[in-house]
Every structure is written in structure tokens, then in C-alpha cells.
């Protein structure tokens, strides 16, 4: 296969999906890295689900909790905001990504911040916060180990739970050797983790502002829940004078007790654990007498297309708790990784969300990059019907005339033949012997008109005995 074109990270776009997928498939190490991490996650999730007989009932309950909250989202937003303000948190509202960035940067400016530590938040990526902080001249320190690695590499995250899934340990060793300025041994992962611990420790304690996302917003108390396994969220939110939370409006849950069902689902679906190591509820700034904690706490509640999703048949997608199980189990993601999708969110959930965030015209290739095998919906902890939603985008893309003329003509021709059984059978009868000419040991490596298929994988040689219909008829007669 010819070398794929080199694509700079910043030129990656949903519209260039095909070229990006080709690049990913040509990468010699990517598939290995994906299988190691996603394969591991898949196995651990499987074991965790097998050990929890209530998992299916919890999924039903989890979906119902999210649906209930979304059905009364205005009520819960207002009560959350009132509670949070009563705790001394300043609540900000942002209609768009730009507005959310402007608000966040302004809080940083007000605080006179030169550096900000960040605890991994996909919403922050969605609104383009890394870029906005850089433009404002504020040093951004990513503290999640994987985010630290992708920051050093100058890459965007390629997975919502393991952002550095695409980076092999040898590359991590090179990056750390250069940026930590100490020698690194790629076969000694614990020492590399130790190196990051040492370098980031100073950054945690010296930051002016700490920025986190939220896994859940508790309407009853006004508290913000973050979950991590590393402990970087608490080290991000405790020492600086100001803590800023950026959160999507769909993160609400009624009470702490409701959050528990979702926490059970989240950890098992993401890493196979029963709960994350650090499940922390942040309720306002430092109180009188408190020995540490931020003097100011701000929450930026971000809409950015979510209210539109609620009214346009995508409300089920707002259940998403960002566990990453759909991508770990996706046959497409497992081949191409996250960057090929060209958006912030990859995999099945990303293929549903990216058209909302970047428009269907830009991202129509993503809902098409799906085999509809249903695996994502089968593992989704909150029962999001991902294939149905993806099919919805396909239908809309067709109706809005976004499919290219060649696709429309091809499908038109196929429909014409498929609706005429005699013609269809005649065509199949004529094509089968021709296809068999190209078969070697049961597989076709190359054949005219089959390039789009055979470039990446072989096509099975049609068996002897004719088409399915021919064999079916023969079987019935015998």
C-alpha cells in the first residue's frame, strides 16, 4: 500500500475522515497500541459486569435517572444554580463554546493568573479551552498523566478516558526525556510515571487557577462530582486560589443517592473497577476555618448545542456519562483510533455528537463509518440507542442532499435493480462466476470495482453452487 499523506494534527477534520482513516490504517504501531489499551479495557469491563448480576437492572435505572433529569432539566438547572450560589460558588452560563471560553479566560484574568492546572475534561476540549488559554497567554498544565503526554506531543486526545491511547511507551520515553530533561527507560513504565509525578508536583503547587470538568452536578446540594484514579483532580482544585469548573448542562442528577447508580455504571464500563479511586464532591470555596481549598469557586454551565439536542430527537444522547465503552467495543474505532474521526469525541458517541457540534455537512462521513453491528448499544451503561441515532444522521444527510452525486447515483442504481427481483438475480448470476476468477484460496485480494473494499481487507470468494437464492431453491427441492 502506498504511504498515506502526512496530516498535521491541526488539519484533522471530520470532513477528511477518509484520508485520516487511511493514514491511521497505514500506521505501523497504532493498531497494536489500540488493541493493548482498548482490548484490556474490554476484558476488564467484561469481568466487572460478570461480577455484578445487577448490572442490567442498574443500566435501566441509570437511563431512567438521566431521562428524568433531562425531562425536568430547567427545574434541575435552577435548583443546582441556587444551591451552588448558596455555597458561595459563582455560577456562569454559556450559550456557546466561545462564550464559555471567554468567561473562563476572564475569570483567569481577574485572578491575575499566569498558569492554570487542568484536570482532564472532555468538555474543555469541546469548547476549545486549551487554545483559548494559549491565546490569552496563560500557561496550561495538563495534570492527568495521559493529557500530560498528549500535551507534550502536541496532539489532541484520541480517547475520552485514555487520551494517549495512540502513543506507545517508547514515544512517551522520548517525550519525557526531552521535556522532563531526565533519561527515561521505555521498558520501565513505573519510573516514567514517577518522572511525571515529580515534574507535575511543582506545577500543582504553583498554579494560580485550577480548572476541572464535572462528572456529575448534584442539584440537591450544588456540589460538583469529579472522578479520577490518579488524584490529580484534588491536586488541581485544592492549592490554587481559584477553582473553575466547566460542565455541560446535561451533567445534572437530582441527588447524591441518584449519582451512586451512575457511579457504579461509570467505573465498571470505563475501567472495570467498582468505583474510581477518588470520587470527590466539591461544594463551594474554602469556608471559614478550613485549612485549605480555593478562595473562589466558579462553575461555567455550558449549553453548546445541548438544548437543541433535547428538542431534536437526540435527547437520549444526553444520557451519556462519557465512559468510553462504546469506542472500546467498536470494530471501526479499534482499527483507526480516535484521531481519524477528526472531532473532539471519537467512536460511536463521537459520531453522534460531532454533527451537532460541527454540523452535518462537515461530519457526514462519521455516521457512515459504522457497521451497525450494535455492539456499542449493547455495552452502553445508559442504554443509548447509538446505531439508531447514527442511522438518523444518515437519513438526515440523505434528505438534506449532503451525499455526493456518485453516492446518490450508486444507491439509485442499486435501488432500481433491487426492486426488480428478476433483474437482480440475473445480475448476481452474471457477476458470481466473474468474481470467482479473482479468488485465491477463498479470498479475493483485488478485483475491478472492488478497490474500496480490497484496499484494506480481502473479499470472500463467492462459494460454488450459485447465489443464496439458487442454493435455497436447490435445498428446498432436495
Amino acid at each position: 500500500m502506498s504511504a498515506a499523506p502526512e496530516l498535521h494534527p491541526e488539519t484533522r477534520r471530520p470532513a477528511r475522515f477518509k484520508a485520516q482513516a487511511a493514514e491511521a490504517l497505514a500506521s505501523p504501531r497504532l493498531k497494536l497500541a489500540l488493541d493493548r489499551t482498548a482490548g484490556n479495557a474490554e476484558a476488564k469491563r467484561g469481568a466487572a459486569v460478570a461480577a455484578f448480576p445487577g448490572f442490567e437492572a442498574a443500566r435501566v435505572r441509570g437511563a431512567a435517572i438521566k431521562d428524568h433529569t433531562l425531562r425536568h432539566l430547567d427545574h434541575y438547572l435552577e435548583s443546582f444554580a441556587a444551591r451552588a450560589e448558596a455555597l458561595g460558588t459563582k455560577v456562569h452560563w454559556a450559550r456557546t463554546a466561545d462564550e464559555a471560553c471567554r468567561i473562563t479566560v476572564e475569570i483567569c484574568r481577574q485572578a491575575g493568573a499566569r498558569s492554570a492546572t487542568r484536570s482532564k475534561s472532555m468538555l474543555g476540549e469541546e469548547i476549545g479551552l486549551p487554545h483559548a488559554l494559549a491565546e490569552a497567554g496563560i500557561e496550561r498544565v495538563e495534570t492527568d498523566l495521559a493529557e500530560h503526554i498528549v500535551q507534550l506531543a502536541g496532539d489532541p486526545p484520541s480517547h475520552i478516558v485514555w487520551p494517549a491511547m495512540h502513543i506507545a511507551r517508547e514515544q512517551v520515553a522520548e517525550l519525557f526525556a526531552e521535556h522532563h530533561q531526565t533519561p527515561q527507560d521505555p521498558d520501565d513504565v513505573p519510573s516514567m510515571v514517577e518522572s511525571a509525578r515529580r515534574v507535575l508536583r511543582g506545577k500543582f503547587l504553583g498554579a494560580d487557577v485550577g480548572i476541572s470538568g464535572a462528572n456529575f452536578l448534584i442539584a440537591e446540594t450544588g456540589a460538583v462530582c469529579t472522578v479520577t484514579n490518579e488524584g490529580n483532580a484534588e491536586l488541581t482544585t485544592t492549592p490554587p486560589r481559584v477553582h473553575i469548573v466547566t460542565a455541560g448542562i446535561e451533567k445534572l442528577v437530582p441527588t447524591l443517592a441518584h449519582a451512586m447508580t451512575l457511579l457504579r455504571l461509570l467505573a465498571r464500563s470505563a475501567t472495570g473497577a467498582e468505583i474510581t479511586q477518588y470520587t470527590t464532591f466539591h461544594a463551594g470555596p474554602k469556608r471559614p476555618g478550613d485549612l485549605d481549598g480555593p478562595e473562589e469557586m466558579h462553575i461555567v454551565l455550558v449549553d453548546n448545542g445541548r438544548s437543541k439536542m433535547l428538542g431534536e430527537g437526540l435527547e437520549e444522547m444526553l444520557r451519556c456519562i462519557r465512559c468510553g465503552a462504546c469506542m472500546n467495543h467498536c470494530v471501526v474505532y479499534r482499527q483507526i483510533g480516535g484521531h481519524a474521526y477528526g472531532g473532539v469525541y471519537p467512536g460511536p458517541m463521537g459520531a453522534v455528537l460531532t454533527p451537532v457540534l460541527q454540523g452535518l455537512k462537515e461530519s457526514r462521513a462519521l455516521p457512515q463509518a459504522c457497521t451497525l453491528n450494535g455492539k456499542c448499544a449493547e455495552v452502553c451503561p445508559v442504554k443509548i440507542p447509538l446505531p439508531t441515532l447514527l442511522r438518523g444522521w444518515r437519513i438526515r444527510s440523505w434528505r438534506e442532499g449532503l451525499e455526493p452525486t456518485t453516492v446518490r447515483a450508486g444507491i439509485g442504481l442499486w435501488a432500481f435493480v433491487a426492486k426488480r427481483p428478476r433483474l437482480y438475480r440475473l445480475g448476481v448470476k452474471a457477476a458470481l462466476p466473474v468474481l470467482r476468477i479473482f479468488g485465491r484460496k477463498g479470498w479475493i485480494e483485488k478485483a475491478p470495482l472492488l478497490g474500496a473494499w480490497t484496499d484494506q481487507r480481502d473479499f470472500p470468494t463467492p462459494p460454488r453452487g450459485g447465489s443464496f437464492m439458487a442454493q435455497y431453491k436447490a435445498g428446498r427441492r432436495s
Binding site: G54, A57, V60, H68, W162, T276, L301
Partner: protein, 224 residues
């Protein structure tokens, strides 16, 4: 219009149905917590035993021991610190119940350094379902003391061990502390090729000391 008003009205437009009465919403939310047992792990017969067994499991990223009463805590710390060759400089969370103990032979301080070796804190309660220790911020609890040390030792009273996550939610009703942390094992990461490494940013070692403070528990132990 303000962003707040815009977002709320966009949400209301999207929801189509007229807003429900708050009482109805509360009732509907409460119904979602009823009959929860099929959707969660079974209640433990004995939460304290289950909590101990959970953390004692080799797959769990922490160790656990039991002591008979809080007065035995300094001796347990001494033996832990000797076992791990940590010296006897101890960062003690300035909680009254810990300060009241006799710490002769220890070099105590109350604010963890960035390279702190070992700290001791008392947990508010334990949860046997997950092996979590609940820690809260406050005038006697520095959050950084729980994250900077290399070794973190948590003391938990047996009488505070609850069964499941919802029991903790119920027990913590009312004004929440600024920070409430459910800490479950030592810090860890699997960010480099999925291989699990302990001590990413928080403590590399977590040791739980379960203090037997239930009268019937003690009685059982002294019975022949």
C-alpha cells in the same frame, strides 16, 4: 437576554411539555430510588467484615489491619513506619481524636510537604460495597495532607462502616462539607499502554487501620 435566561428558555422550548410542579418532580425522583436492590450489589451480612475482606483482597490497591481501640493507633503506626523504613516523622491530620493520643517517639507536624513520606488521617466513615473511606475537609482536615504523602494511613472506626453507596448518601444528608472524598485504594494510572502503575499523583501506598469500637465486637473477642 442573559445567557442564563436564554439557556433556560431554550431548554423549556425543547422540552415542549409545560413545567411540572416541583412536588411531582420530587416524587418522581424519589420513585427512582425505590426498590433499588436488583440494581445494586447485595447488602453485606456484616458490613465491617465485608469492608475488611474487600480491602484485604490482594487485587485491592491498599492494605488493612485491625486494632482494638483507638489508643492502639500510635503503636500500629510505629510498626507500619518501621516496617516500611519511613523513620518516625509523621504528618498528623490535626483532628482532635488523633491529637489526643500519645505520640511519644514521633516527630509530628500537621502540614504535608510536597515530598511527605507518611501521613495519618481519620476517615469519617467506611463503605463496604467498594472498600471506600470517606474523608471530609474542615477546620481540622487539610485536603492536601491526603494527596501529597507517599504513604497514607487512614483510621476508620468499625462503628462507622456502612454497607452500600446509598447508605453513605443517606448518612451525609444536610449541608455537604466543602470537599467529601470517597477514597478507594491508592492512586493509580493505566495511561501508558494500559499497564497499571500505583502512585500517579496521590499516595502510592494506602493503609487502612480499622478501629474496633463496637461494644459487642469487643465482647465477642474476649469471650472464650
Amino acid at each position: 437576554m442573559s445567557a442564563r435566561a436564554d439557556i433556560l428558555s431554550a431548554v423549556r422550548r425543547a422540552l415542549k411539555a409545560p413545567p411540572a410542579a416541583p412536588d411531582l418532580i420530587v416524587a418522581e425522583a424519589a420513585a427512582l430510588l425505590e426498590d433499588l436492590d436488583p440494581a445494586r450489589p447485595p447488602a453485606p451480612a456484616d458490613p465491617v467484615e465485608a469492608f475488611f475482606a474487600k480491602i484485604d483482597d490482594p487485587a485491592f490497591a491498599a492494605s488493612i489491619e485491625r486494632i482494638d481501640g483507638i489508643r492502639a493507633l500510635p503503636a500500629a503506626l510505629r510498626s507500619y513506619m518501621a516496617r516500611h523504613r519511613l523513620g518516625f516523622r509523621l504528618c498528623l491530620q490535626p483532628q482532635e481524636e488523633l491529637r489526643a493520643l500519645s505520640w511519644a517517639g514521633f516527630d509530628l507536624h500537621h502540614e504535608a510537604a510536597p515530598d511527605e513520606a507518611v501521613a495519618l488521617a481519620a476517615g469519617r466513615r467506611g463503605i463496604s460495597e467498594t472498600g471506600s473511606v470517606v474523608l471530609e475537609s474542615g477546620p481540622d482536615s487539610r485536603i492536601l495532607n491526603l494527596f501529597l504523602p507517599f504513604h497514607l494511613v487512614l483510621a476508620v472506626r468499625a462503628s462507622t462502616i456502612l454497607g452500600r453507596l446509598e447508605d453513605h448518601a443517606e448518612a451525609s444528608a444536610g449541608l455537604p462539607p466543602r470537599n467529601a472524598i470517597l477514597m478507594t485504594g491508592a492512586s493509580g494510572t493505566s495511561d501508558i499502554e494500559g499497564s497499571y502503575v500505583r502512585g500517579a499523583h496521590g499516595p502510592r501506598f494506602l493503609h487502612v487501620i480499622l478501629i474496633e469500637d463496637r461494644p459487642q465486637g469487643r465482647l465477642e473477642e474476649v469471650r472464650p
